[in-house]
């Protein structure tokens, strides 16, 4: 009897699993259609000449060009720069939000989220109005006599970085804030009762416990920024040329789809590499935490 009941239960469980799997089929179908097929198409395109014959010439051309490598360096500079500033600005902000009273925290959160609901194009042009030579910021600076000449705040690397940080900060903040809010306040009190200063509490309790959130936020920032196009195109003044702009140039000026596809694949590999690196680092830290707990 019990054996029978067991098999019946197992069959039930199997049926249930199948049912849930079938529920996810439409989503899988859409992912396959919208993500995988275009990638397959791009990979195929990267091996075609403009005439449609198979070749590895596109790879030779792209990988031997100094332009590709300088674009790669710019891409990494922009992404890592944005990430560093997001960590520097976002972590204390998340800490402040997590320790504020719920009502205040909700209000502050609304301010943080507000820019997320605005189109990136609008926000980027908004920065142009603020940062340009006769813009609000420079008018205030020269008007108050702080600087004699308007500062070059836009149409360069600085302006691009400002625009990108502004876009990414809320997206970085969310997982960090969530992780910090979930920290048991008793742990912080316990550390304080054992004589830890605020700095020590942050270093030994809060940061290790929110490391997961900071990592998730970092991955989000990196993956978003690596393909950023609008912000460098509008705020970079033609001088900031990451891979995304190189791809656009290859497509629109040269109509060279093969080389553009190679550049796209390069971007994809870069993203995968960074993803793996982040995950490995995360596991390493998690492993160390378990280790210390046992010791």
């Amino acid at each position: 009897m019990t054996v029978l009941a067991d098999t019946a239960l197992a069959a039930d469980a199997r049926r249930e699993r199948r049912f849930f799997l079938s529920l996810s089929l439409p989503a899988l179908f859409i992912v396959g259609l919208a993500a995988i097929l275009p990638i397959v198409w791009i990979i195929r395109q990267s091996f075609l000449t403009t005439g449609g014959e198979y070749t590895v010439g596109n790879y030779e051309k792209v990988l031997s060009s100094g332009l590709t490598w300088s674009a790669l360096v710019t891409t990494l500079e922009l992404s890592l720069g944005t990430l560093a500033i997001c960590i520097l600005l976002g972590t204390p902000l998340a800490l402040a939000l997590a320790s504020a009273r719920p009502r205040v925290a909700n209000l502050l959160m609304a301010f943080v989220m507000l820019p997320l609901w605005t189109s990136i194009l609008v926000r980027t042009y908004g920065w142009l109005v603020l940062l340009r030579r006769d813009g609000l910021i420079n008018a205030a600076l020269t008007g108050s006599g702080l600087t004699a000449e308007p500062l070059p705040l836009v149409y360069n690397f600085t302006g691009t970085l400002i625009g990108m940080v502004h876009y990414m900060l809320p997206l970085f903040l969310l997982p960090v804030y969530a992780a910090m809010r979930d920290i048991d306040a008793n742990l912080i009190r316990a550390s304080a009762s054992m004589g830890a200063t605020l700095g020590q509490a942050i270093r030994t309790v809060i940061l290790p416990l929110s490391a997961g959130g900071i990592f998730s936020g970092s991955i989000i920032v990196f993956i978003y920024t690596i393909g950023f196009f609008i912000t460098p195109a509008v705020l970079g003044g033609g001088k900031v040329n990451p891979l995304s702009i190189r791809i656009e140039r290859t497509l629109s000026t040269f109509q060279d789809w093969g080389s553009a596809s190679v550049l796209g694949i390069l971007l994809l590999i870069l993203m995968a590499l960074m993803g793996v690196m982040f995950l490995a680092a995360r596991r390493l830290i998690a492993g160390r935490k378990v280790g210390t707990a046992h010791a």
């Binding site: 403009t50 332009l67 300088s70 340009r132 006769d134 033609g238 001088k239 629109s252 000026t253 109509q255």
Partner: protein, 347 residues
């Protein structure tokens, strides 16, 4: 007799049905003020005359869109508006149908500008423009002076593209307008142009990527000296911006209309091109934007008012110092020139 009757009945039925099934033609332009000007002056009245139902699509990058449509086999547009170098490039990649010069008047284009694939209808100059607050009565007058940062300090803005920039660079280096392309055709000539641009690079505040952006830079005073298209400079000036420009040393280019390979309504497209580029219509275009007709007949019979002629790159009094952009040269050497330019930018 009954057969004839039946045929005529059928003919009546067909002609009665015609207004319902009006010929539709899709046209793709760059949009914006320019696209609107082309609509108001050219294709809207032509469509009305022909009884066509014209649909408009806009694309800031016509050639990329054209290539996408033709190579994917999903051609939705019948007429596409391109710059002549892009038109020549598209023809070289067999993306275009040959123009039907039985429908379009072959004598409406001067011999030098004629193309088998893309019909040139208007012209513009890539000109030097400046902020009148910065330079007052003494702006730079030549490209050599544009390059002279000691005599004319100020922030420059150039297009982030080799096109027109390398021609201008050579003019600034003392090359005569007539010799620009023969000099550029030698490797040393191209290098000379690139070196010249590189020398100016520290003083270039912005390398712009769209015509609208160049106008904005001029209008806002973000840059003091801007290389832009005369239509854009004229619009800023007319809007009361502290800006002026000169046709001296301009690089004259033309825009053209083409029919994509495999366009759904090829013949109707040819008819619409012929109708929308009638002299009166291309002359009317100058009501909206300062891009003058390619067709010499557009300048005849007072179709364009006397005072407006001065604002057109191709007006007789503006000729002489300018260079005509050579579409064929760009098809042959464009990629190498652009690569050299991009490498200069990355250095």
């Amino acid at each position: 007799m009954s057969l004839l009757l039946r045929i005529s009945l059928a003919a009546i039925a067909v002609s009665a049905a015609l207004p319902v099934y009006a010929q539709t033609v899709t046209i793709t332009t760059a949009g914006g003020d320019y696209g609107n000007a082309i609509k108001e002056a050219m294709w809207a009245p032509a469509a009305k005359e022909l009884g066509f139902d014209v649909r408009e699509e806009t694309q800031s990058d016509g050639l990329a869109a054209l290539k996408m449509q033709v190579t994917s086999g999903a051609v939705t547009t019948d007429i596409i508006h391109l710059g002549s170098p892009e038109g020549a490039q598209a023809a070289a990649q067999s993306l275009l149908e040959p123009l039907d010069y039985k429908i379009i008047d072959p004598n409406s284009v001067p011999a030098g500008a004629k193309s088998d694939y893309c019909y040139p209808f208007d012209s513009y100059g890539t000109v030097m423009s400046w902020n009148t607050k910065t330079y007052g009565e003494n702006p730079p007058k030549t490209w050599a002076e544009f390059w002279d940062v000691a005599k004319f300090p100020g922030r420059r803005a150039l297009r982030a593209n080799a096109q027109d920039s390398i021609e201008i660079a050579l003019l600034s280096d003392g090359v005569a307008p007539a010799d620009v392309y023969s000099v550029l055709s030698t490797p040393e000539g191209l290098e000379r142009a690139i070196k010249r641009l590189e020398a100016l690079k520290p003083n270039v505040a912005v390398w712009w990527t769209s015509g609208a952006q160049s106008a904005q830079l001029l209008k806002d005073g973000e840059a003091d000296l801007v290389v832009t298209w005369n239509g854009r400079a004229q619009t800023v000036k007319a809007d009361g911006g502290a800006a002026d420009y000169t046709f001296k040393g301009s690089v004259i280019g033309t825009d053209c209309l083409a029919v994509p390979k495999g366009a759904p309504n090829k013949e109707a497209a040819m008819k619409l091109i012929a109708a929308m580029t009638q002299p009166a219509r291309v002359a009317k275009l100058t009501d909206f934007i300062a891009y003058g007709p390619v067709n010499p007949a557009g300048y005849e019979g007072g179709l364009i008012p006397e005072d407006r002629l001065k604002t057109l790159a191709t007006a007789p009094e503006n000729a002489g110092t300018s260079v005509f952009s050579n579409a064929d040269w760009w098809v042959k050497n464009g990629e190498a020139a652009q690569k050299a330019f991009d490498e200069m930018m990355a250095r």
